[in-house]
Subunit: 374 residues, 4 copies
C-alpha cells in the first residue's frame, strides 16, 4: 500500500490515464495511432524529477500542467497529441480511481485473512467457555467461539460493504474543461466509452467532478472496516491484560518488547489497529467536509482530498494487516478463560450459541464464494 | 423529524420494542397472551414524566432500567412478564432502528422532492446557456440544464445509497444480557423470528451489539446526501450573488430579509443547507469514533451514539428540506446567464451536453420506479 | 447547563443583549431613557411562543427578525427604539457569549470539584503501592497517589486553559450591518463602550463577525478538559474491571445496576465521561470547519455554530460532572492493589514519586488562589 | 517544514533527545563524560537505514527499541550508557516537542508575513470604498482597509494564541518506564533539570505521558490560524471571481494557469489555503480523540498521534505560506470596487471605520514588539 500511494505511484497513475486518453483519442481520430504509441512508451514515471514536479505543481495549482509539459517534451513530434480532451481533474480523479482500485484489492486481501482467522477461531472454540463482559464488568458465561463469530460477522459485513461502495465510486471521470466534453464534438460518446474501456472503468451518465458522495461512502466503508479491526484490537488488548491473560498475540522475534522492561509482552498488533481506528474518523470527516465543491470545479475542497486519501489508505492498511496477523496466529488460553469464569455463577452455555456461530460461518462461506466470483 | 427524535418519541420507540418483545414471549410460551396484551395497552409514553426518567436513567446508566420499572408498575399482576429475554441494549438499539426507519423515509421524501425539482430544471433548461465556472473563475460555456442534471445525478445517487445502507443497517438487535440469548433455551430461534416479525425487521445471523459499522455507513450515506444539498446550496448562493444574479431562491413572505437592510434578499434556504453540510462531518466522525466497543458491550462508546443520531437526523432533515424547497421553486434568469456568458468567448454548446442530460433523466426515471417498488 | 442552553434561555440571552443595546442607545442619545426602560421591562422570554419563533426564524434565516418584531410589539410607542445600531449577528453572537460566560462558570465549578477530589486522593494515597500499567500490561510499581496527582495536574491545567481561552473569546461583538458601525456616527466609540459595559464584556479593536478562532480555542480548551475527564473515566473503568477491582465508583441507590443482571456494579459515571469524550472531537471539528466565513458575514458557516455550542456545553457538563462525583467519592481498595502488584517484581517506590505528588499539590494550591482572585 | 517533519528529521530529533539524556546522565554520575561524548558524536541520523528501522519499529511497536539498538552498536564500549533512565515515550515525546518547537517558529514566520501584508493593505486602503457583503449579498459600503484590518486582527490573534499554547505544551517529558523515575534514585530532580536544560525545555511538575490536552490546544491554535488563512483565501477567491474582479493574487510565471484554458487566472494561493483549512478540523479531531490514554501509557491512542502531527504541520505550513504570499503581493483594483459599489445605495463611510483600522494597526505594532522580545 505504501508503494501504491507513494508520490511516484501517484504520478504513474496519472500517466496511465494520459495513455488511456491518448488511446481513446487515437480510436476516435483525434490523434494518430503512432502518437498514442509514443505516448504509451514515454509515460513512465521513473525518470521524473518529483521535487521539481511538486514545485511546479504548487505554482500551477495542479500537477497536471507540469506533468503534461513533461510528457509533451518526452514525445517529440507528438506534442499536440498529448492531453487531448481532458482537463486536469479528469487526469487526477481517474488516477486516484486507478490507485484506489489497487488499494481496495489489498485491503480486501487483509480483510479476507482477518475473516479466515476469525472463522478458524470460531470453529475451534465454539465450546470454549469464558466470561462475557459488558460495560467492562463480568456479566454472563459465553464462549470464545461466539466472540470470534461476532468478529467474523463484522469483518465479512465490511468486505461486502467495501465491494459495494467501490463498485459505485470507482467509475470513469470524464468531462473536459467544464464538464461539457467540449472538444470531442460528435465523437464524445464513443471517445468516453473507449476511455473507460482502456482504464477498465464503468462510464457514468454524467461527469462527477463535483459529486464526491460515492468516494466518501467508500471511505466510510473502509473506516467501518478499520473500526472493526480496532474493536478486535481492543478486545485482544483487554484479554491480554496481565490480570486476565486469556489470549496472546502471536509471538515473533522482536515483537512487543519494551525498551526498559524485559518481562513485558505488549499487544503491538492491537495497538496498531487501535491507533488506525482512532485516526480514520478525522480523515473521513475531512473527505465529507470536502464535498462542498463549488459550481463546475471546486476552489479548495477538491484539492483538499489529495493528501487525505493516501493517509486513509495507509492507515487502513496498517490496521487491517495488523489484525490479519493477530487473528491468524492468536494464542488462546482456555484454562485462563475457565479461571476467570469463576467471577460469575457458572451455567450451561445456551443452546442458541452454537446456532449463531454456525450461521456466521455459513455467511462466511457464502462471502468467500462471492469474493471468488467478483 | 423533530417529532420523531424528540425525547418522548425515543421513549415511545423503546416501549414499542418492549411490546414486540412481550408478543414474541407470548408466542413462545414465556408469558401469557393476556400479559402481552396488558403490556401492549400500557406501553404509551404520553403519561411518562420525562424529567424524572432522565434523572433515573442518568443514575442507572441506562433509561431502560427506570422505563422497565415504570412499565411493570403499569401492568399490575403482570410485572414479571415485562422485559423477558431482552437486555438494555436490545431495547435501545431496536428503538433506535425503529426511529431511523421512520426518519429515513422522511429524508427519502425530501430527496425525492429535490430530485424532481432538479429534473424539472434539467428538462426545462437543457439549452439555457450560461458560463461554466471552475475554481471560481469563468471557464467555458455550459447550460443550466447540464448543471441541474449534475445535481440530479448526485441526488439520485444518494437516494440509492441511503436505501442500500438502510437495508443493511436497520436489522433486529437481539442477544440478551451478553449476546448469548441465555434465557430463551430451545425457543431462541423462534423467539427471535417472532420478535423481528413484530418489528418488521430482518434477523441477522448474530447480535450486532458491538458491530456498529452498518450504522456508520448509513450515517455516511446520509452525510453524502447532506453534502449534495450543501453543494447545491453553495451553487445557488454563488449564482445569487448580487453581481451574478442568475437564479433566486423562491420568494415567500418573511423569507430572507435582513434585520437592518430592507433591500436584501438572502439565500436563506441555501444557508440552511450549507450549515447542515458543515455539521455532518463532525457528527459522522463521532459515530465512527464510537465503533471502539469493548468486549460484549461498550463502556462509553455505545452510549455516545445516543445524542449523535438525533442531531444528525435533524441536521440532515433541515438541509434536505431546504434544498427540496429551493429546487422546487427556483427562479432562473436566462438573461442574466446570457449576460455573464460574455466573460468567455461564446461558442456552441457541445453536442454531448444533451446526451448527458438525457441519461441523467433516464436514470432518474428508473430511480423513481425503484422507489415505488421498494 | 441544560437550563442555560435551552431554547428559551437562548432567547432570553438575546433579549438581554437587546436591553443592553437599548441602554447604550439611551446613553448616547439615540433613544430616550423611557424607551430603554420599557424595553428592559418587556424583554422577558417567558411569554414567547417558541415554536412560532422557530418557524419564523427558519423562514427569515435568523431568529432576530421575528424576535425584534415581537419586542417592538411589546413596547407600544417605542417600536422604533428597538434594535438600533445592531445587526442580527451582534445580537446572536453576544447572546452566545453571555450564555458561554455562564456555562464556563459551571464547567469550572465541576473542574474544581474534580481537582479537589483528585488532590484528596493524591494526598491520601501517596504511599499506596499499586502496579503501573503501560500498553495495558503490568509494568512497574507506582502509587495510587502518583496516578491521582497526574489526574490532578491535568485537571488544573485545563482549568487554567479554559480561563485563558474564555478571557480571549468572550468579548463584545458589535459592528452593525456590515461591521462599519454605520448608524452611530460620531457616537460610535462611546456607544460601543457603553454596550460592552452593560454586558460586562471587554471591547475588541474591531468586530469579530467572521473571526471565530478564539471561540474555537475555547471549544478546544473545553474539549481538552472533557478529554481529561474521559481519560480518568477510562482509568477508573479499567481499575474497576472484575478481575482487577482496585477502585469503585461511589455507590448510590439506583446507580450502576443492570436491567438483567442483579450482581453487576457498572462504572456508570466513567461511562458518562467516556461517552462525552468520544463526542467532543466531532463537535470541535464542526466549529473549526465553520471558520470559513465569507466576506462580511458567512452564508452557512456562522449559522452552523448555533446548534453545536449547546451540544458541546451539555456534553462537557455531563462528562465533567460525572467525574467530579466519581473523584469525590471514589472507593479505593489498597489490598487489591497490593495483590495485583504481585504481577511485577516488587521494589521500593522511587524517592522521586513523593516529590512529584507534592509539586502537583503545590500547583493545585496556587490554582485555587488564582481561581479565588479571578 | 517538509524537511523538519520528514522521517529522517524525526529520527534525528529522537537522537538529540538521547544525547541530552546521556549528558544529564553524565552530569549526575550515571555514565562517564566520555560515554556521553561518544553518544553525542554517534547520534547522527544520516547513516541510518530508515526502511529497516521502520520495519523493526513496526515489529517492536516503537521505533525507540531499534534506534537504541542502533545507537548502542554505534558506541562500542559504551553500550550500557545509552538510554539510561528514559522510556520509549520520553524519547518520542521529547523528539516531537523538539520538532514542534522548530515547526512553530516557521509557522510564526509565515503568520508574521501574513500580518505585515494585511497591515500594509489596511494602511493603504483605509479609504478605498467597496461594497460590504453579508450572506453573499451586497449589503453596505465599507472600505477595503477595514476588511484588511479584520484579517490583520485575526492573524495577530492567532500569533498570540500559538505563542501561548506552545509555551504551555512544549515542555520536557520525563518519567521513565511507568512515570516514577524509577532508576534515578536520589538524583532524580537534578537529572531531570539537567535533561530539560539540555533540550531548552521547561520541566513540569509531573510527567505528562497520558495528559495530552496542552498538545491538543496547540493543535487547535494552529487550526485557528489555518482557519484564518482559509477565510482570507475564501475572501480573495470570491473577490477574484470573474464577475467581481476586485483583487488578484500576485502574478508569477507558471502560476494559476489551466491545463485546457489559456485565458484563466486561477486563485491558486487561495485554493491552497482553503484546502488546508478543510483538512485541519479532521486532524485536530484525531488528536482530541487520542486523549483517551489508558493508565500509565496508552495502547493505541498515543501511537495514533505520530502520523497526525506531520500532516497537521505540513498542512498548516502550506496554507499559511500561501496566504503570506497572497497578502504580500495582492493586487487591488479600486475602480472595480467602486463599480460594484453601485449595487448598494452609496453613502459616506462611517467615521468609526478609521478608528477600527487604527486600533488594529496599533495592536499589530504591539504584537511585533512582543514577537521581538519572545
Amino acid at each position: 500500500m505504501r508503494g501504491g500511494f507513494a508520490p511516484r505511484a501517484t504520478v504513474q497513475a496519472m500517466l496511465l490515464v494520459e495513455v488511456a486518453l491518448a488511446e481513446a483519442g487515437a480510436g476516435t481520430g483525434f490523434l494518430s495511432d503512432e502518437a498514442a504509441a509514443a505516448i504509451g512508451r514515454a509515460a513512465r514515471a521513473e525518470g521524473i524529477d518529483l521535487d521539481r514536479l511538486a514545485e511546479d505543481a504548487a505554482l500551477a495549482g495542479t500537477p497536471v500542467i507540469p506533468l503534461v509539459a513533461w510528457l509533451r517534451a518526452a514525445v517529440p513530434g507528438h506534442e499536440t497529441s498529448v492531453h487531448i480532451g481532458g482537463t486536469s481533474q479528469d487526469i487526477i480523479d481517474n488516477g486516484l480511481v486507478v490507485q484506489l482500485n489497487a488499494g481496495v484489492k489489498l485491503l480486501q486481501a487483509d480483510l479476507a485473512r482477518m475473516a479466515n482467522g476469525a472463522a478458524a477461531l470460531a470453529r475451534a472454540h465454539g465450546a470454549t467457555k469464558m466470561v462475557g463482559r459488558t460495560l467492562l464488568q463480568a456479566a454472563m458465561p459465553t464462549t470464545f467461539g461466539l466472540k470470534a463469530a461476532g468478529w467474523l460477522s463484522a469483518i465479512d459485513d465490511s468486505r461486502g460493504a467495501i465491494r459495494h461502495a467501490a463498485a459505485e465510486a470507482l467509475r470513469l471521470q470524464f468531462g473536459g474543461a467544464a464538464g461539457t466534453l467540449d472538444v470531442l464534438g460528435p465523437h464524445a460518446v464513443r471517445f468516453v466509452e473507449k476511455f473507460g474501456f482502456g482504464l477498465s472503468l464503468p462510464v457514468p451518465a454524467i461527469p462527477w467532478h463535483t459529486s464526491r458522495a460515492p468516494l466518501c461512502r467508500l471511505a466510510a466503508a473502509m473506516a467501518g472496516a478499520v473500526g472493526v479491526a480496532g474493536k478486535i484490537g481492543t478486545d485482544i488488548a483487554l484479554m491480554m491484560q496481565s490480570e486476565i491473560a486469556e489470549v496472546a498475540e502471536p509471538a515473533a522475534p522482536g515483537r512487543g518488547g519494551s525498551s526498559t522492561m524485559a518481562h513485558k509482552r505488549n499487544p503491538t498488533l492491537s495497538i496498531a489497529a487501535r491507533a488506525a481506528a482512532l485516526r480514520v474518523p478525522g480523515l473521513v470527516a475531512s473527505l465529507l467536509a470536502a464535498q462542498d465543491q463549488e459550481l463546475e470545479r471546486a476552489a479548495g475542497a477538491w484539492q483538499a482530498e489529495a493528501a487525505v486519501w493516501p493517509a486513509l489508505m495507509l492507515c487502513a492498511s496498517g490496521g487491517l494487516a495488523a489484525m490479519a496477523e493477530a487473528l491468524t496466529g492468536l494464542e488462546v488460553f482456555p484454562a485462563a478463560m475457565a479461571r476467570n469464569l469463576g467471577l460469575v455463577s457458572d451455567s450451561a452455555i445456551p443452546a442458541a450459541v452454537a446456532g449463531m456461530i454456525e450461521r456466521s460461518l455459513e455467511d462466511h462461506e457464502r462471502m468467500k464464494v462471492g469474493s471468488d466470483n467478483k
